[in-house]
Structures are given as structure tokens and as C-alpha cells.
Amino acid sequence: LSATAAQRFLQDAAVKSADLVHRELIRRGMESYDAAHLKGRARIKDWEAARQKCQEVKREAINHLDRYLLQFEEKVISRGGHVFWAANGEEACAYVKDLAIRLGVRTVVKSKSMVTEEIHLSPALEKVGIKVWETDFGEYIVQLRDEPPYHIVTPAMHLNRGQIAKLFREKVDPGIDSDDPAYLMAAARRKLRQAFFAAEMGISGANFLVADAGVIAISTNEGNGRLCTSVPRIHVVVTGIEKVIPRLEDLAVLWPVLATSGTGQGITTYSTLIGGPRQPGEVDGPEEFHVVLVDNGRSQLLADAEQREVLHCIRCGACLNICPVFRHVGGHTYGTTYPGPIGSVLTPHLVGIKEFKHLSYASSLCGACTSVCPVKIDLHHHLLQNRRNATEAGATKSSERLMFRAWRHAMLHPRIYALGGWSMRKILRIIYGLGLAGSILDPMRVWNRHRSPLPLPSESFRARWRKDLGAN
């Protein structure tokens, strides 16, 4: 019998959260991000106003998704591009796969895209014998390791340069003899250049779909995105329907806010707008341009008035970076395409509340995510709503329901509450007295496994109040 997602999460979390080498590596990465993010925010005159504006733009887009998507589609088609509406991941994968087969594609280069991870596009293409190259440096590394991205912006942040050098020696070039980042980049570049020029198809995601201009906007730092979208003769964009924004001018605020929240940059090194295939008289660009608009559960989320704003997400990763749970358990532990707070909120909608409700409980509800979200998604309150939804759907354990019923009963009956407190103090005093704290007999053993037992008061607060405090 295979373990459930929740059981795997608990097991992996126990291992990772006790791994202090992992914690230090992630903490160092996050602290340099924190410093850059703080500096980046200071460059924007009024950060709160910028967040507010981004929220308004995304809200407008999501509330009128039907209109803006059709406007985008019309523009793309008018310039000779193709648009495919995929209800789910299978439809999207099938479209890209059939297109690749029809056009005789043998090699694909990909720039970074979380949606393609979500729908498992690469395995679908590899199954029919197409070679897929991830060309983002971090994605290239995790592809070589045959593992999913650790983080939605920095996929290989869980590896240090020594581990990457070792990996490259095994998988890229046995002559690798340094762990200098520039040296390793150069080694990757030598391989990837060949792939760029061999590939017949380039696949990218999109950070934004601009409705009024009918273009896609991509923010990248390595230049691989431009190579993927301009060198091969076919360019396929795979993107979620929620990426649409109304106007080109909205990028004036969204681009810098995305870059600041993602990496602390004022703007990413490459900010690219692509409007379709090569036009008559143009010297470069792909011959074919396809946009695959992926729904895959997003329309369902759109119908949920309480959580619709989760579709505002621009995938900057700020909520992962600040999340103390993410910082301790790491990205892979979540077992989801999107880890961290946004993943815990989103995954139940994309995959199912039954299987992934545990992620909504795996939070102390500290609210750090909500405080940094550049589009002001009320993340931790949505976690709470997911908990409520799971409870109302009857997805909680019967032992837990019984416990809360007992608690409710005690809260409504002061005598029973007092009796419970009195007997717990008695029992614990005996158990602690016998030195059995943390043992199987200790009702507080889960607490006491990691903590020293709490000192037991001689009497209840209410008894003290009656005798002493209340009289003052």
C-alpha cells in the first residue's frame, strides 16, 4: 500500500526539518534574498501603493477573464498565431505532442515554466521520443538530477556549488575540475548552445498575456528565454489562463514589482514581448507561433468567490521565501508543483482537497506570506478557509472530530472543564513524578518529545481568582 500525500509529507518534513545543513543552506539563500528584496522595495517610491495597483490590475483581469482572453486570442490570430484552449493538462500535452509529431520535431528547448511542470509536459514529449532540454540554468540542474524544481523561481537553490560540480562531472563533462559558478555556467552553456541550434521547437511560459496588445511578456535573467523563443522555427507558449492582464501599460507596475518580489531586481535582465510568428519582411522569429491556454482547475477556482483572488498570483516566490515552514521543510517536501504558502492554498483547488488538505494545516498561520504578497493575496486566511472547507466536506479524522466535540462540551460546561483541568493536573503530576514524561503513558508525549514538560500549577486560574486575584 503506497503512502498518502499527507503521510509522505509528515515523513519528509520530519527528516528535512531536523537537517541543519539544509536549514543553513536555505537560510543563507533566503537571507541574501531578504537583503536584496528590502533594497529593491526601497527603490520603489511607495511600495504599498504599487502592491495596491498590482492587486487592482489583477482583480480587473480576473473579474473579466472571459473578455480579456478573447481579446488576446483575437490579436494573436490576427498576426498569424494559433491559440488552443486546454481544459486540462492532458489536453494541453496532447496538443503540443501532436503538433511536434506533425511538424517533425525531434528536439525541444524549454525556458522556465511552472505550468509545464504542473501538466507534466516534458515526460509526455519524451514518451514519444522527443528530446527535451531545460535551458534555464537551475532547471537544467534539476533536470539532470531527474527531480522537480525545489522552488518556483530558483529551482536548484537546495544545492551548493560542490554538489552541482559533482553532478556536472557525472552528467555533462567528466573533465569538470572546478566548482566556480562562472566555470560551471560556461560548461552548461556549451551544451545548451548546441541544443538551441538543433531544436525545431522552443517552449516557453508567459509571465503575462497582454490583452490589448495581444502579446506575451516574459521576464528572465539568463537570455535562454530569448533563444528558446526566437531560434527554433516553432514557438509554443504554455500558460495558465489567469496570466492575462488588460493593458500593455499595466506592465509599467507589474514588471518591476514582479522582479522586486522575485529576486530584488529593479527589473529582470531580459524583459521580452512577443506578438506572434515572423511577419513578412521580418528577418527573424519563429515560423509558427502557438499559445496553449491551460485551465486545469482554474475556472473552478474562478467560481469560488471567497478564493478567486488566488488567481492573482504572479508566481514571484516571495511567499515561499519568507515562509518559516518552507525554510525548515524545503520545497520538495510539499510533494506539489507549487510549494510554499501559494502551493498550500492552490493545490487543493488544482488537484483535490481530500489529498492535499493537510498542507492547509501545515502552517502556524503566522501571516508572513500575506504581508509580502505583491498582489495582496490573503494567503493565510485562505489556508483557514481550506481547513473549514475540508471539515465541512467531512474530510477530517473521526478521532479529531471526537476530540473537538469533547472540547466544545467542556467549554460549554464549566464544571466539566474544571474537572478536566483538575484530573489532568493530577495525572500529569504522577506521570512526571515517576519520570515518565514523553513515554507512552504521557498524554502530553507529542508535546514533550521536543519540549521540556510545562511546570504544573498547584491550582487552576479560576481557583486563584476566587481566592486571591479577584479580591484585589
Binding site: 509528515l10 518559516p324 501545515a362 502556524s364 498561520l365 501571516g367 518529545r449
Partner: protein, 164 residues
Amino acid sequence: MVRTFYAELLASSSLREDAIAVAGRTFELSEFLVKVAGVTQVGATFPHAVTYHASCHGLRELHLRDEPLQLLREVNGLKLIEMARSEECCGFGGTFAMKFADISAAMGNSKGESVAATGAEFVTAIDPSCLLHLQGILGKRHVPARTIHLASILAQTGSAQVRP
């Protein structure tokens, strides 16, 4: 809890209006002293090195960042030492501490290390549940720092023994 979450919990209940009314006249202690009563000097004396943990709900639900620190700075004899990552969650989180005991403890241990690194005799906060959790964490790790609620510090006159 009272201020933000009662109204959410009772969203579809007839008690919702009452919850909102109660929230409107409920204050956190440091918030009340500094923002309502306009007091930062309460005449307390506490000649000890103290570090402050910014409790999540005070910080991010009630937006109390400076109020507790303003009060602590005015306590006679108190030496305030800032800890690393003072605004990172301690890992308590209610049932989270039991359901995800390992993650909760790992977060607590990180906080405990931050406390220990300051060398402070006391760690204080405005949320007793953080302190309940940290007391056990610090005890298990044999960190000499003790937990004390902000209210207990503000009630010290300096003459008697420290009573948490």
C-alpha cells in the same frame, strides 16, 4: 483571535454583529497603553537583559511592531537586546504544534537559537502561547533564558523577586 478571527468564524452566524462589536472594544495590552492611554512609561523597574520576540498575530494581524518595544525601552534598568529574525514565527501555531510536531519543534529550535545567541536572561512577547511553546523549547535545549510576558515585566517594581 477576538479582533480578526471571531467575525470570520461567525461569518454565517447571528452572533457576527456581536463579534464585531466585541472586537471593536478589545485591545492588546501594549496597544491599549500606547495607542489609547498614550502611556509608554509605566514606572516599572526590571534590571535584566531582555530580548523581544515579535508574536505573529500581534505583528501581522494587529500591526503592533513598535508598541511593545516602546514600553520595554521605558522600563528602568532593562537592557533590550535584539535577536536575529525576531519577526520569524516561533512555530507554535495552536494545533499545528501537535499535528506537525516536528516542523513546530524545528521552528522553535531556530527561535531558541536566536534567543540563546543574544545571551539575554529573559525572552518576552505579547502572546502567551508563543511563550508557552518557547518555555518548553528553551528548557529542552538547556538555554538559560527564561520566558516572561510583557505584562509581567511592566508589573515589576524591582524590589520583589521576579514573578512570571
